[in-house]
């Protein structure tokens, strides 16, 4: 495997560059996936049938906490990648761990939120609105859950194998994924919660 030392570690081999470009294309597909969910949400948002509307069930406090946790985690993973570029493995692993802990906390609040929805009679079967609401949030939540495992695996690998072109590449790609989930959340926050509460 030819390594080009003039480039950052995560770009240093041909395969690494393919991986990063391929992942960007995958994120393009993910954008389409969430765009479809949002389009469906906008179509069905007012079709509440006999169930509650968004304004009746949304609570601002957990949503604000979730937003704060996830936005911070996006910042800390950025710091993690910065540390990786400087070759500081210890700092990088710390920032990655903080990121995952914030993600875990986010997930905890989201689960609480889901229980709340079911509790107030807004289950996934209640109406077209609740179906798409919980599916959109659930798809994002499932991405975060998957990301927690993936991130954990990467931390273990960096710990064991050090910063190699391979582990750096994986860490960088994971950071792209994590930032993307943050972007999706910003849309969820703005167009589902804020718009729904207005």
């Amino acid at each position: 495997m030819k390594i080009d030392h003039s480039l950052p570690l995560e770009y240093s081999t041909d395969q690494n560059q393919y991986n990063i470009l391929g992942f960007w294309i995958f994120l393009g597909a993910e954008i389409m996936l969430f765009a479809t969910l949002f389009a469906t949400y906008f179509t069905l948002a007012n079709r509440t049938g006999s169930g509650p509307s968004g304004a009746e069930i949304f609570e601002i406090t957990p949503v604000l906490i979730e937003t704060l946790l996830l936005l911070t985690s996006s910042f800390t993973i950025g710091l993690g990648i910065h540390a990786m570029r400087l070759g500081n493995k210890k700092a990088m692993l710390s920032f990655f761990s903080i990121t995952l802990l914030l993600g875990l906390a986010f997930l905890g609040v989201e689960i609480y939120e889901f229980i709340h929805y079911v509790h107030v009679g807004a289950g996934i079967q209640t109406s077209a609105f609740t179906s798409i609401l919980l599916t959109t949030l659930g798809t994002h939540g499932a991405h975060v859950t998957l990301g927690l495992f993936w991130g954990l695996f990467i931390i273990l690998q960096v710990k064991k194998r050090g910063l190699t072109p391979q582990t750096a590449n994986k860490s960088f790609i994971f950071s792209l994924y994590w930032h993307f989930l943050d972007v999706v959340w910003i849309f969820i926050f703005s167009f589902i919660y804020l718009k729904g509460m207005m």
Binding site: M1, D14, Q17, Y18, N19, L21, G22, I25, F26, G28, A29, E30, M32, L33, T36, L37, T40, T43, L44, R47, T48, G49, S50, G51, I124, Q125, T126, S127, A128, F129, T130, S131, I132, T135, F149, W150, F153, I154, L156, Q157, R161, Q166, K170
Partner: protein
């Protein structure tokens, strides 16, 4: 017993029982044959675990041909049922199941793998690469497609086939009106193979953008590579829509959500919209690579460079953008209003313009060329008039006011077969014949090949031209019979005769493979067609590493430059060791788990479904921790192979 009852077919018939026996016997025969000839190890090492793009391409090809016959049998049964008024060969339920599976099999499990077969095999060779960007992912793509196809095909012997049409419109496809598990099969089998298609899209785009030979700028790529690139961009942006639609359809059927229901706010038209936001780009995913094949073939056998290279590329880019802007023309009659219909009418008619540009480019490529009518060229020559006919009726259908007359009639059925058969199927057969020597090292028989092309064209005209007439006279599609008073009988009989002739044509392809395998010469050199592009600059069949030395390119017709203008393709003649990816069984195993996963969801078997989900995640975790740096092919090995294949260039 109650547990087993769910696996029974709801509407059994002798044909289904016969198929069960046939499937059982075939499986026993395969297992016995593999054991007797001690081929299990060979199968596992050389095929099931391979990550070689050429072998994956060949496996796609075999699957596509098998599915062509499965879908073809469906077609013959439908035409037989309709050949006479008030025929009782099939009842309404069976007819519904057969037109549904015919559509799904032909589009998702025949046409898609056929284009993936050619893309996989040809694109890396055409750009001078040694494999695709993600060989392991490529194997996973294939096996997911394969397992999806198998899952779909077992539906008619276990639990019942889907019967709501290949479009599976809600509320018909909902639990209330489609009570069997058939529609679950539809939702999950297509989902699984769709994930594979999306991965291929990502893989091919990365390959084409990053792995081209030195000197091959984007505007020096051969046209088939360009068309594959555009088709894969459409895949990446269209398939996620289908993923979401299928997931919502599955949840409606299994978990009682309210997306497409008729109550509690559900909206059935949402399915139609989402389906066609994927579905219309999908037809361009199929036709663009077909156009790419025609471009290669017509240019090669006219002995001229492709006329209007830049306009070809531009027209494909325009088509890819516009393919996302026409979806509502599939349901002009479903009440979205005059303004929406007008807009979609205009976009639909406009998309004929870039397509027309391509037709003129092919005609001008042939203009004053030294045309040699080989089998691939014959398909291309038949394609141009037949496809244009289909295009013109497409513009007729695009006029939303007039569409109220044509909608849901045989006219529409005639139209889309008229574009798909001469457009996609002829291209795939042309590509198959053209690239056969590249894949297997011998040529298919030209005489049988030309007979096939003529039989398919005549059969096609006999089968589908009468449908235009009966359609305009009001024969509805998807109706399992009609009364004698309608007068549709004789024309439908002609259609049936046409279908039989086409079946003979397809059978001849099999005979041709058999005949050529036995009798064709193996001494065909590297360039049997006197071709123009890079894939013909290496040996036939292609060695594992494709090119011993990476070629250098200065135009879209690198080999022609080398042959006629003294361009040196292989400057550095010293071999260096070549890095290649390792084989892996994980894609196959993971896809097998996906099969179990899909099957468990179809029958609401929750414990196996959870176990299979965990299995899939374990495979992904395994991939994360795995350290696989591939292997090297040594210089000695390369020298040996190259000498055996009559020396390197």
């Amino acid at each position: 017993m109650e547990f087993l009852e769910r696996f029974a077919v709801p509407h059994p018939s002798i044909a289904i029982y016969a198929s069960m026996v046939a499937i059982g016997l075939t499986m026993i025969a395969i297992v016995a044959g593999l054991t007797y000839f001690k081929k299990w190890g060979y199968l596992w090492r050389e095929w099931l675990t391979t990550v070689d793009h050429k072998r994956i391409g060949i496996m796609y090809l075999i699957s596509a041909l098998l599915m062509l016959f499965r879908g073809g049998v469906d077609a013959i049964m439908m035409r037989a049922q309709l050949s006479a008024p008030e025929n009782t060969l099939l009842d309404a339920q069976h007819y519904n199941e057969i037109f549904t599976t015919h559509g799904v099999v032909m589009i998702i499990f025949m046409a898609m793998p056929f284009i993936f077969a050619l893309m996989n095999f040809v694109v890396p060779l055409q750009i001078g690469a040694r494999d695709v960007a993600f060989p392991r992912l490529n194997a996973l793509s294939f096996w997911l497609f394969f397992m999806g196809a198998m899952l779909f095909n077992i539906s008619f012997v276990i639990g019942g086939s889907p019967d709501a049409g290949w479009t599976s419109y809600f509320p018909l496809a909902g639990n209330e009106f489609s009570t069997s598990v058939g529609t679950n099969y539809y939702m999950l089998a297509i989902q699984i193979s769709g994930i594979g298609s999306l991965m291929t899209g990502i893989n091919m785009i990365t390959t084409i953008l990053k792995m081209r030979a030195p000197g091959m700028t984007l505007m020096k790529m051969p046209m088939f590579t360009w068309s594959s690139f555009i088709a894969n961009v459409i895949i990446v942006f269209a398939f996620p829509v289908l993923t979401v639609a299928l997931a919502m359809g599955t949840m409606d059927r299994l978990f009682g959500t309210q997306f497409f229901t008729m109550e509690n706010g559900g909206m059935d038209m949402l399915w139609a919209n989402l389906f066609w936001v994927w579905g219309h780009p999908e037809v361009y995913i199929l036709i663009l690579p077909a156009f790419g094949i025609y471009s290669e073939v017509i240019s090669t056998f006219s002995r001229k460079n492709l006329y209007g290279y830049k306009s070809m590329v531009a027209s494909m880019v325009v088509i890819s953008l516009m393919s996302f802007l026409v979806w509502a023309h599939h349901f002009f009659t479903m009440g979205q209003g005059a303004l929406t219909n007008s807009i979609f009418s205009i976009t639909t008619m406009a998309i004929a313009v870039p397509t027309g540009v391509k037709i003129f480019n092919w005609l001008l490529t042939m203009w004053k060329g030294k045309i040699e009518i080989t089998t691939p060229m014959l398909y291309s020559l038949l394609f141009i008039p037949l496809f244009t006919l289909g295009g013109v009726t497409g513009v007729m259908l695009a006029m939303s006011a007039a569409d109220y007359q044509y909608h849901n009639t045989m006219f529409l059925v005639a139209h889309f077969h008229n574009v798909i058969i001469p457009g996609v199927v002829f291209a795939m057969l042309a590509g198959l014949t053209y690239y056969w020597p590249k894949m297997f090292g011998f040529m298919l028989n030209e005489r049988i090949g030309k007979w096939t092309a003529w039989l398919l064209s005549i059969g096609f005209l006999l089968a589908f031209m009468p449908m235009y007439i009966t359609g305009l006279d009001g024969q509805a599609r998807r109706m399992y019979t009609y009364s004698e008073a309608t007068g549709f009988g004789p024309l439908n009989m002609i259609s049936f005769v046409g279908a039989i002739i086409m079946a003979v044509g397809f059978a001849l392809i099999v005979y041709n493979v058999y005949y050529s395998t036995r009798y064709a010469s193996r001494d065909i050199g590297e360039d049997p067609w006197d071709a123009r592009t890079l894939e013909w600059a290496t040996h036939n069949p292609v060695p594992e590493y494709n090119f011993a030395v990476v070629p250098e390119v200065r135009s879209s017709e690198a080999l022609w430059d080398a042959k006629k203008h003294g361009h040196v393709l292989f400057k550095d003649r010293n071999y260096k060791k070549i890095h290649m990816p390792n084989n892996s069984g994980v894609p196959f195993i993971m896809s097998l788990i996906f099969f179990v996963w899909g099957f468990s969801f179809i029958f609401s078997l929750w414990i196996p479904a959870i176990l299979a989900t965990i299995g899939i995640l374990v495979c992904m975790a395994h991939r994360s921790f795995e350290q696989d740096h591939g292997h090297y092919i040594s210089v000695e090995e390369i020298e040996e192979t190259e000498t055996k294949m009559r020396g390197a260039k």
